[in-house]
Subunit: 262 residues, 2 copies
DNA sequence: AGGCTCCTTCCGTCAGGCGGAAGGGGAGCC
DNA sequence: GGCTCCCCTTCCGCCTGACGGAAGGAGCCT
C-alpha cells in the first residue's frame, strides 16, 4: 500500500521536503520482512525516489557495506550493517544475556520460545527458538506486532507506565482473529490479571490455534526491559502450568541483567 | 588513534570530499565493539565531522530509529536499525538455519561454538554459544578477525577461490601470539591439510591458551557460505577427535541450506 | 527486429547542507 | 556564590554538491 502522492500536476515538481539523510534512511527502510531483496527500480519505488537518486544512494550504501548486490543485480541488506546493528543494546546484547534461560525454557517445554522488547506501541521480536514439532507461529526475528494482541505485548503493557497503557487503551485495537481482544475494558482486566499472576496469556489473538504465555523481564533498577513467552497449541494449553515456568525464565534473565528482587 | 588531519592551515578549510550519504554512514561507523555508546561530541570526533553537522545527522538518525538517546544524552545503536539489519541474508537468516546444529555441537562438546562468514579478507562472527566453563575467547558476535589466524578463517580460506588465497598469502600476516602463523609457506600447508582432512585447526594463534577446530559450510550449488568451529583449551585439545564432530555439524548446516553431496 | 524493462552515465541548475558564531545549561572547582 | 570548562543547541548566509531530466546501453521476451 501507500504509493500515494506520486501525482504531479502542472507545477514544477513539488520539492521533496526530505533531507539527503532522510532519503538515505528511506532506502534502508525500503527493505522489510516482505521485501528482503529488491532491484534498483524497486528500491526507488518503495523509497519514493527518482531512479537516478536511488542509483546514487544505493551505490554509496553498497560501497560502505550496508547493502550487497548479487550477480543478478538484486540488492539485499549487507553484512556491515548487520555488524553495526549487532551493537544495539536491546538487540544482540540482550539476546546473549537471555539465551541460556531461553534454552532452559525450551528444554522444559519443547515449544516455541520468544524474547521481545517494546518499541512505541509495538513489540519487536529479538529471538525465537523454534521447536521442530512446535506450533506454527507468525513471529519472526525482527518482526513487529501491536502490544495488545501478543503474549509478550500484554506482559510488557501490564508493567508499562500508565500513560502508555492509556495510549494503547485509547486507540482502536486491531483484530487478527475472532478471539482478539478489542474491548478496552476487557483488555484492562487482562492486564490486571497479568499483574496479579505474574504472567500474561494471549489466547488465540494472533492465530486461531496458538496460545501464548508471557512474563516480563526487568533490568538493573527495576526498569522494564523485555518479555519472554512460550507459544503452544490452543488445545493443549495449560497456562496455569506454563506460567510459573515462564516466570522463572523471566526472573533468570532479569537477574542476569542486574535486577535485584526487593 | 587516527585523529589525523584535523590540522587546517591558513586556507579556507579543505572541502570535505565525502558526500552527504558518506557522512551519514560514517556516523554509524563511529560505533563499534569498543564504542557502543557515544556522546554527540564523540560521534563528531570519530566520524571526522563538525559538531553542527554531527548534531544534524545524529538527530535525523535518532528520529528514524537508527540511533537511540538515553537520559544522559548518550547515543547507542537503535532498535530500528537492528530490525532492518536482521534482514541480512548472511546474518540472522543464516543464523536461524544453523542454530539447531550449533546447539547439537555444543551439547556434544560443551565448549565454545562459533559460526562465522567471510567479508573481504576478514571473518565476521555471526553467532557464539558460550559454555559457562568454556575457555575465554576474544570473539564476540559482530567481531572481525583476519582470515589467516582463526579456525573459521582457515576453513573459509582453504575452500576459497585461488585469487583470494593468493591475496591473503601475498600480504603481510599479522601475528597475535608467538604461535600465529605468519609464514606463507606454512599457511599454505595448513590450508592443504584442512582440505585433506575436512577440518582446519588454529593452534593458539589468537590467544595463547585456545585451540580452534573448524569446518566449512556450503550452500545450494556448493557455494562456500560460512564456517563452524569449536574452541577448546590448548592443553585438552584433541583435534582428531573434535574434527569429525565439527564436520558433522557443518554438513548438517550445509544440508539445511540446500547443499547436496555429490 | 522491435519493444520492453531495468540500469548507467552525463551535466546544468538551484535548493539545501555546511559550519562559523553565539548562547544555554550543567558539573566541578575554588 | 562565582568561576571555568565542556557539551549541547539554535541561528543564518554562503556556496557547493545533490538532484533529476535526458540520452543511451544491455538484456529479455515476443
Amino acid at each position: 500500500m501507500a504509493t500515494a502522492d506520486q501525482g504531479r500536476r502542472g507545477g514544477p515538481a513539488a520539492p521533496d521536503p526530505r533531507s539527503a539523510a532522510d532519503r538515505l534512511l528511506d532506502v534502508l527502510g525500503a527493505f522489510d520482512q516482505d521485501n528482503q531483496a529488491l532491484t534498483l527500480t524497486a528500491v526507488a519505488r518503495r523509497a519514493g525516489l527518482r531512479l537516478t537518486t536511488a542509483h546514487r544512494l544505493v551505490g554509496t550504501l553498497t560501497r560502505w557495506g550496508a547493502l550487497e548486490r548479487d550477480q543478478a543485480g538484486v540488492y539485499r541488506i549487507g553484512l556491515r550493517l548487520w555488524e553495526t546493528a549487532a551493537l544495539a543494546p536491546r538487540g544482540v546484547v540482550l539476546r546473549q544475556a537471555a539465551m541460556p534461560y531461553l534454552e532452559d525454557l525450551y528444554e522444559a517445554t519443547h515449544e516455541n520460545v520468544h524474547l521481545a522488547v517494546r518499541d512505541g506501541t509495538d513489540v519487536v521480536y529479538i529471538e525465537r527458538i523454534s521447536g521442530r514439532s512446535a506450533v506454527g507461529v507468525r513471529s519472526q526475528v525482527g518482526a513487529r506486532w501491536p502490544l495488545h494482541a501478543t503474549g509478550v505485548g500484554l506482559a510488557l503493557l501490564a508493567h508499562a507506565e500508565a500513560d502508555l497503557q492509556e495510549q494503547v487503551l485509547g486507540a482502536p485495537l486491531a483484530a487478527f482473529t475472532p478471539y482478539t481482544v478489542t474491548d478496552p475494558a476487557r483488555l484492562r482486566r487482562l492486564l490486571a490479571e497479568a499483574r496479579r499472576t505474574g504472567y500474561a496469556v494471549s489466547d488465540r489473538q494472533i492465530t486461531d490455534d496458538a496460545v501464548s504465555v508471557a512474563a516480563a523481564v526487568f533490568g538493573a533498577g527495576g526498569a522494564l526491559v523485555a518479555a519472554v513467552s512460550v507459544v503452544v497449541h490452543a488445545e493443549d494449553a495449560h497456562p496455569r502450568q506454563l506460567g510459573p515456568a515462564v516466570r522463572v525464565a523471566a526472573r533468570g534473565i532479569s537477574r542476569a541483567l542486574g535486577w535485584q528482587p526487593r
